[in-house]
Symmetry: C2
Subunit: 304 residues, 2 copies
């Protein structure tokens, strides 16, 4: 059984970081390049993980499989199937069976929820249960939270230069929980929503407060990202990618600070700009080096 430790002491940069050298997470493949010459590269591994909440089979996810316990707990929290005050009696992971079981003191029964799920499971942003939106409208995010531009520039540089599966194999999303200019927990997964859920699971299992945090994602600022960030109680969401209309609409509705296209010196704020503190001129910020340009790094610069 995993205790819910309390992390009050300040955490170092990347207290949790990707492990691109873990042989379980990526594998070498050989192909041909544009000249017909053999080329070796690494591709990210995916494995099935079937999640049980007590006796209830909930879902089968495709994941890189690095943090099944955090993914399981975070998924249940973000789907409103685990309550903030629930007490865990165990998290059992069987790597061979590809099964993770989360056990709670409170008896749970989500038969009804499972039925509801079918109705929205084709959603481009993954699965969102009906009652999640009800909870969404009750969220109050900290109005005093701030995002200093100096933090933003420091965070994007630290994250882009941190060794990761993305830099080693590509075709993967990353999410990073940050505090001021410090990246605390950096999770990756093929599915963006899995990386978010791992962060949520880590925060909950370690009683990490949310009001003073900044959430960074490599992915697009879709409705799902906005909903999950707000449900976690994090007032600031930053991405190097772009926005969707529904994501912007929901961020404005809940008062979430939404920063997109954050690359090098540039960024755009489409919601909650009152939390931005312009304490560093963009001219003082470094631009991204090609070596560390990420997916989307050159995208959308043609937009107006």
């Amino acid at each position: 059984m995993r205790d819910r430790r309390v992390l009050n002491a300040p955490l170092p940069d990347f207290h949790i970081r990707p492990d691109p050298d873990d042989p379980r997470l990526s594998q070498p493949v050989t192909g041909l390049d544009q000249d017909g010459k053999p080329v070796d590269l690494r591709v990210v591994s995916e494995r099935a993980l079937t999640l049980f909440l007590n006796a209830q089979e909930v879902v089968t996810m495709m994941t890189i499989g690095d943090r099944p316990d955090l993914l399981a707990v975070g998924y249940l929290l973000n789907q409103n199937m685990l309550r903030p005050d629930d007490v865990l009696t165990g998290i059992d992971y069987d790597e061979d069976l590809e099964v993770v079981v989360v056990r709670t003191e409170r008896a749970t029964d989500y038969e009804e929820k499972m039925k509801k799920k079918v109705r929205t499971s084709g959603c481009a942003q993954g699965t969102v249960f009906g009652d999640v939106m009800e909870r969404f409208d009750e969220i109050a995010l900290d109005p005093d939270a701030r995002l200093h531009t100096s933090w933003l520039y420091a965070l994007t540089k630290k994250i882009n230069t941190q060794p990761s599966l993305y830099l080693a194999a590509g075709a993967i999303h990353g999410c990073v929980l940050c505090q001021q200019d410090r990246p605390l927990a950096y999770m990756e997964d093929v599915g963006r929503h899995n990386a978010v859920d791992k962060i949520a699971g880590w925060m909950w299992l370690n009683n990490v407060p949310a009001a003073d945090k900044i959430f960074y994602t490599t992915g697009r600022l879709t409705s799902e990202m906005v909903i999950k960030t707000a449900l976690m109680g994090i007032p600031v969401l930053v991405s190097r990618s772009g926005f969707t209309a529904w994501g912007v609409e929901l961020a404005r509705r809940v008062g979430l600070t939404l920063v997109g296209r954050a690359r090098g010196k540039r960024f755009v704020v489409l919601s909650g700009s009152e939390r931005i503190v312009y304490d560093m001129a963009p001219g003082e910020a470094e631009d991204e080096s090609p070596r560390h340009r990420r997916k989307g790094a050159r995208a959308e610069e043609t937009d107006t």
Copy 2:
């Protein structure tokens, strides 16, 4: 009711193309940039679309909503809920109700299927029914199909310079059905799987043969993309993005030619390289101009 026309005559480039000027597909939003100055940009709209097959409610999708009929038919085909020999008696779309109903001569009942779906709906690549994989293993793709490198270079240039919602608003995926060096149908949507389904729906409604086609996508070459391309009977899948291990494994299993990281002069083939005809030296190909570099254009160049 929509007839199943037969498209035997050669189609012009972009017979179906994005309409970035359609006001229903994107909307203007105002924010602040890195200097705190107001900035106007366009973001892609998303709307719900609930799909019925006869009397059965199947799924609610988030889509840009430009081709509800094609999305509906393609989704049902790719989920194995519509058989290739099914006869449609109607496709009714109600924009206000955000509902599309596909009617078939054959009575359908997918209650069992709907139950199965729950088990996989958390999959990072969207929803794939159990019996889809059974069908996958029976697929025989045309061994004589070819991909000339001159076609590949011509296609990527034409696609990247074609006006699109991506160039106008960003944060959207594109899929293009191609024949030799000609892009025939270019569909976009927030969810990559929706864009694929629209292509499948268009092909089926117009009896477009698959064996001589090339499928281009802006998205990652995940298992879902490989499965859907193979189910459509298309022997070649090209993307400007990267690979996942399961995508590569499935492509090799079914004999699909899988070309990734296709940008400017560069590309990598990880499966079915026997179909590649190197008829043009990369040196003769133009590189991408920054103006038309897409999402991912600079990604993964650090990979080996």
